[in-house]
């Protein structure tokens, strides 16, 4: 029953929260750059605007994949907030991104194609660490279920500092922030124009934005799990992590994809090291 409530709350509140987070993000970024920045509700205006625009496509099929992307992002988020199996959630999440990439491929345009390739490199970059993070949770709490992990009394972060650091590193990929915003980014001045999203416009672009909001809430949920033993600390940690990501965005240049891939995989190695030590301790302790 709890799970059901979680799902409903997620479906309704996540876009609101995600949009507000995006608004705060932009505001904060602007302040870090010495600017005033847009109104807090700007992301909602933007998406609202996108739905007012004309539908323009290169190939009709491209919009279909984006709908699937949105559907599976929502599904993976819903699975998460229903307290479901974390590993399955992660796989659904990957599936969603494959749809995004396919949408970009379908459009058959040079820049969206390069964006798609880069998006796939990104998936390849963050996938190991995400899986390892899930495994880390299992090792600490003995369960793959979000419901169990979220209600644990074990401070996961103390056991998984390396995993958390690795996860924080790849979070910049998922939030599309410097230094790893290689496939598309929130600002225009990129060598591949808008990358994956180049050929999407109007309501389809709006759907991508909404999916992004859902995704961010889900990702922050993952961050929360590291601190779940104490909800207050958990929420503070989520806020601090997010602010740190915005900060990193503002103090780094974008790197090449090679460096992104290397960093992601090194971060995963860090996580592996962390888990190996953990398993050694557990065997030793047992």
């Amino acid at each position: 029953m709890n799970g059901f409530i979680g799902v409903v709350l997620f479906l309704i509140l996540a876009p609101v929260a995600g949009g507000l987070i995006a608004g705060l993000d932009r505001k904060l970024t602007a302040r870090m750059q010495g600017r005033v920045g847009p109104p807090l509700l700007q992301p909602f205006y933007d998406v609202g605007k996108l739905f007012e625009k004309e539908r323009v496509v290169v190939a009709t099929a491209q919009n279909f994949y984006i709908l699937a992307y949105l559907a599976f992002i929502v599904l993976s988020g819903a699975l998460f907030f229903a307290g479901g199996d974390l590993l399955l959630t992660v796989f659904a999440f990957t599936l969603a991104h494959v749809f995004l990439v396919l949408g970009a491929y379908a459009a058959h345009s040079p820049y969206s194609h390069i964006g798609a390739e880069r998006e796939l490199i990104q998936v390849m970059t963050y996938e190991p660490i995400v899986i390892l993070a899930v495994v880390g949770f299992y090792m600490v709490t003995g369960s793959f279920y979000v419901a169990d992990i979220a209600t644990t009394t074990v401070p996961a972060i103390l056991y998984l500092p390396g995993v958390f650091l690795g996860f924080a590193a790849i979070l910049t990929i998922k939030l599309r922030k410097s230094p790893f915003d290689i496939s598309t980014s929130h600002h225009a001045h990129q060598e591949i124009v808008k990358g994956v999203t180049t050929e999407f416009s109007g309501s389809t672009l709006g759907q991508i934005e909404i999916a992004h909001w859902y995704e961010n809430v889900f990702l922050l949920g993952l961050v929360y799990l590291f601190f779940a033993w104490n909800p207050v600390i958990g929420i503070i940690a989520v806020v601090v992590t997010y602010v740190a990501e915005v900060f990193i965005d503002n103090v780094t240049a974008r790197v090449r994809w090679q460096a992104a891939l290397k960093s992601g995989w090194l971060a995963a190695l860090l996580a592996v090291a962390n888990l190996l030590i953990l398993s050694y301790m557990m065997i030793g302790g047992a």
Binding site: I114, S178, H189, V193, D249, N250, A253, R254, W257, A259
Partner: protein, 359 residues
């Protein structure tokens, strides 16, 4: 060669402030060949000498480019003055130097911003452009225009800067220098920036020289050529040493420009300190008859205005060779081997200014 793709890059492209087009031939993301195509800004304004009398052509020269606007005017005016053997008052020479160096500051800061942007360092872009506004404010205070100063004319300058203002600029320069050094520190010492720049787009000293490169592109490869050394305007009085780096990569070119910020600030301060009294212009009569290759060091390198007059009010020919055109061959040599992500960085590293290149 099976695994190659061709991607059109530009003319409209968010990292390019100005339209150029590149056919990029890529292997995955490695650039194996690049063929530029330009001409999107070619207006044909050299031809306007036939429609504008030579004093009015200054306004056209200023608009060859909005960034080093003043220097084009300066180069043009110095050329006409040389042909007509006009001696410009000392105060005008000093004022010209100040405006020149202000232009350089504004141009370099602008470029640093765009360069940061090409690396995806948005905040650094914002910072550089924020600092640049101080220069634009001085420019507007002294000339009435933020971008296009329009203060140079044949025979001197159009406006004077009063003493109080000069002192204020001198004061502003102190705090401004500190801020610039903070900015320069990021460009020269930040790890992510170094990662993006070092070893990228290398041009050796010999190559840079024989390809005819100019400005920071040349000096970044270790060749100490800077036309201010010849001592036009007040540079002869103030003394000047070129800024040189040796690595020849994007980082070196960036470093040259960063260090030139400091040297420009210094020149402005000394010009203010040594500012002579007197008039700012002389009356100009007659028309130029003769030819001259007028050369001035712009932010991007030496600009050449070849002026040919036949004693009428209209020049026969004004041929403008700008530094970017001279740097294009070097660019074509720099790009192959870079990654797609580096294309904007390498392209910007020569500080391409298409507007003057194509005229």
């Amino acid at each position: 060669m099976p695994k190659r793709i061709v991607v059109p890059f530009g003319p409209q492209h968010p990292v390019l402030p100005e339209p150029i087009h590149l056919d990029l031939v890529l292997e995955d993301e490695k650039v194996v060949d690049v063929i530029p195509s330009i001409g999107y800004i070619h207006r044909g304004l050299e031809q306007l000498v036939q429609k504008r009398e030579y004093p009015e052509y200054v306004y056209v020269a200023e608009r060859i480019c909005g960034i080093c606007s003043f220097m084009h005017a300066l180069c043009y005016c110095q050329g006409i003055e040389h042909i007509m053997e006009i001696e410009v008052p000392d105060r005008a020479r000093y004022l010209r130097t100040i405006w020149s160096e202000l232009s350089r500051l504004h141009s370099h800061l602008l470029w640093l911003g765009l360069f940061a942007d090409s690396m995806g360092f948005e905040n650094l872009f914002m910072r550089a452009w924020q600092l640049r506004e101080s220069v634009l404010d001085i420019s507007e205070d002294t000339s009435g225009g933020r971008i296009i100063q329009s203060t140079c004319k044949v025979g001197g300058v159009r406006r004077d800067i009063e003493q109080g203002k000069l002192e204020e600029i001198h004061r502003v320069m102190d705090t401004f220098e500190e801020k610039c050094r903070g900015l320069g520190n990021v460009f020269l010492n930040d790890e992510t920036v170094k990662y993006r720049l070092q070893g990228l787009g290398v041009i050796s000293k010999d190559e840079a020289y024989t390809l005819g490169s100019a400005g920071p592109t040349l000096r970044g490869s270790g060749v100490a050529i800077d036309h201010r050394e010849t001592g036009y305007a007040a540079y002869g009085d103030l003394g000047f040493k070129p800024v040189v780096e040796t690595a020849g990569d994007c980082y070196a070119r960036c470093a040259v420009r960063v260090r030139e910020l400091y040297s420009s600030i210094d020149l402005i301060r000394r010009a203010i300190e040594e500012m002579p009294e007197g008039g700012i212009d002389v009356k100009v009569k007659g028309a130029p008859n003769g030819e001259y290759f007028s050369r001035v060091e712009q932010p991007r390198g030496e600009v050449v205005h070849y002026l040919l007059g036949d004693g009428t009010k209209h020049l026969v020919r004004a041929r403008i060779r700008t530094p970017t055109l001279a740097n294009v061959p070097a660019l074509v040599k720099m790009l192959p081997g870079a990654q797609l992500a580096d294309v904007p960085v390498v392209v910007l590293s020569i500080d391409p200014c298409i507007s003057c290149t194509e005229r």
